[in-house]
């Protein structure tokens, strides 16, 4: 008798422990794996997308002498320096068809590019190119170094939801 009672107590306790253990595992699983870290994940995504868009803009583009009609990838550099013609074309493209540029960059996010000194296009100071972030959410800024008008400058790209 004595031994039987002890056995019943152990079996019951074990079941209860198992339930707690499994519950803990399930909570852990949902918490660490399935529960989205929304803000961090979005920022990571924005950061990657921002690098991709910045890389595309800070390239020679494709075709190399692209224009609004034949552009596949709008890059503004020639021999690692910002080319005024390409810059103007890129500016025009964003003014005329900003959504198209997003499609060309293959991104769903908004972007805005500007440099440490203003762009000068057709003797006019341009603060930036793209969509100015007014109602931005989760904005990321990517900074790159490039050469504009024989000066190393910082090229900034802001990207947001």
């Amino acid at each position: 008798m004595y031994y039987k009672k002890r056995g019943q107590a152990w079996g019951f306790d074990l079941m209860a422990a198992m339930v707690i253990f499994i519950t803990g595992i399930i909570i852990f699983y949902f918490y660490t794996i399935n529960t989205p870290l929304e803000t961090g994940q979005i920022l990571n995504t924005l950061s990657r997308e921002g690098e991709i868009v910045a890389n595309a803009i800070l390239s020679e583009g494709f075709p190399e002498n692209w224009n609004e009609q034949n552009v596949i990838s709008p890059g503004i550099l020639t021999k690692n320096k910002i080319n005024d013609t390409k810059l103007e074309r890129f500016n025009n493209l964003t003014i005329n068809n900003y959504p198209k540029t997003k499609a060309l960059f293959n991104t769903k996010y908004e972007y805005y590019a500007f440099v440490s000194e203003n762009f000068t296009i057709n003797n006019q100071q341009i603060i930036g190119i793209g969509n100015i972030p007014l109602n931005d959410k989760n904005l990321i800024k990517i900074s790159r170094l490039t050469v504009y008008r024989n000066k190393p400058i910082i090229f900034n790209l802001e990207i947001w939801e």
Binding site: K5, F21, F28, R144
Partner: protein, 625 residues
Amino acid sequence: MGIKIKSRQGVFFSIDALIALGIIISVIIILYPSTKDTKIESNLHYDVISSLSSLKIGEVDNSYINSLISQGYINDTNKSVLEQIGEFSVINPDLARALASSVLSELKTNTNIGIWYGNKLIYGLNKTPIETADNIETARQTISGIGDEGPSTGFVSKAWLKKIESKKTLLVIRGDLMCGKWTGTYCGPAQTDLIYNIDIPLNSTILNAFWLAEPTWVGQPTKLTINSDQIYNGDIQYYVILNITQYLHPGKNIAVLNSTTGGDDGASHIVIEYNTSDLQTFVQQDKFYFNNLITRAKLYQEKGIIIQNPINSMFVQINTSDAVTLSIRVGAANATIGTKSPQNGIVNFTSAEILGNLTQKGLSYSSLNNKYFFVVVQIGQAGSVKLDENSYVEIQTSSQTEIPFGSIDITQEIKINQTLNKLQNTFYRNLVWKFFLPQNSIPIIADWQLGWLWTGNSITAQTAKANGITLYNSPPDPFIPAFSRFGYTPNTASGVFKEKENNFTLDFGSNYAVSNESSYGALTYFIRSFVNFDGTFNKAKGGIRTIEFETGETKQFSIGDPTDPWDPSIDAVDDAVERLIAQLDADKNGKIDVILKEDNLEIETLDISGVPYLWSTEVQVRIWN
């Protein structure tokens, strides 16, 4: 008791739950991802490299750079900004740091970034030190012309000969076994008039010439004349060596051997040492003329030939009024090509006839390459017989040996180094020749004409080795009665030529020997007549250098600035000239083999501050977090 039991149940439950909780917490601690993403999502380091290497220092819109240019700190405005910082990093690191900071003044970033030239930090913009970084990413670029191994500016020079005053070289006229009353195995006693044509280049200066005449028979009465001047009349025991310098002149010369009892045993040779202003004198021979010979039938003459390049065809023309039997001997293997009577005083053997008969004997044209073979003519049956001039063997090869661009051909005597086991007179059974092949040279041929002596009729051992590599070994190779020629080319066997010391040995059995005095070896090779850029030096001014030539002559060369001391350890011009002299000193005896004048030397010097050269430094732009 029952109370006790209940109490115990509660204890069990609590302990179990605690254990379970402990397990859960442990699992969570173990499984919860403890790593964090340390990847730096920035291309800033690549941007710095590409931007600074694309931007020329002279075109940067920067007042500080403009001031450096105006103050003369920056001399070459075509350099990239990356290169200019690199140059400053060697000569003035503080200036390099100031320049980098100025150029990158716009750079404001939260990313830690630093620029290193080699192991020298030139620019840094960081919040945390790199020593505590979790992750470092690096963009690299190598720039040339900059190095801590020496000055960032300096000079490199190369030198070459645009022409030479003269080059000492050799013309060797080799005799062949040629005589009358041929018995089938040896020459019989017969009146013989034998002509050697000696064509010396017209622009040459004859330095020295000798005739080693070794007739068919020991004690043969012989008259020797050159250009109608009799220079010897008497019995020749084994051979005579006569200085004939005074009897020769540039152009065509004729030497004649007259004898009442015999001709040439194949060891005779005439050697002319001469200077020529031609850088290149090597010509691949394709026509091999027989000597004019008047004697008694049966006339015998064998023309020794060695060809390096693959033979495509062979043609033989004999000017005579008697029937000609042609055969080809390689080693001791003999292939009879045929017997023909002359038509209009000429007998021809076509390539097809020659090759067809060679094939029947198991030989081919390729069997004749890279070793001596002998084209043998036997003419007439009785009475006086004549082999007239313009009788020759013509050989076409599938390729030609051409002198590489920027090279000089040199032919030098190969001197005997050691003799052992004298058989008679100057004839030894074991002989060693040694020669020196300069570095960067291309050997063409090593070639011996051998004064041979066979006492008795029994065959004996004959072994020839080059650098220890056996080239002929009898037995099992057949015994050669007249071992009068031996030669080899780089294609004969691998290792027969090597840089620097080389040797050639002949070893014979008990009754065969070769003379150390009447034999003659010659080496032909190409050496480069230029030296390229090499190390970098602080200056390139030149000076005065005394050069000693192989002729014994010495000359003082004033190269560049004669007031500057000759110091090849710090002067690029001096170094280039020294390297060229060393290269032209083929036998490394401190004397060069070509005679030069000052204006023969052409020297090009590069200022490596203007033309990046040789050195390189790796630029690293690192970012870290």
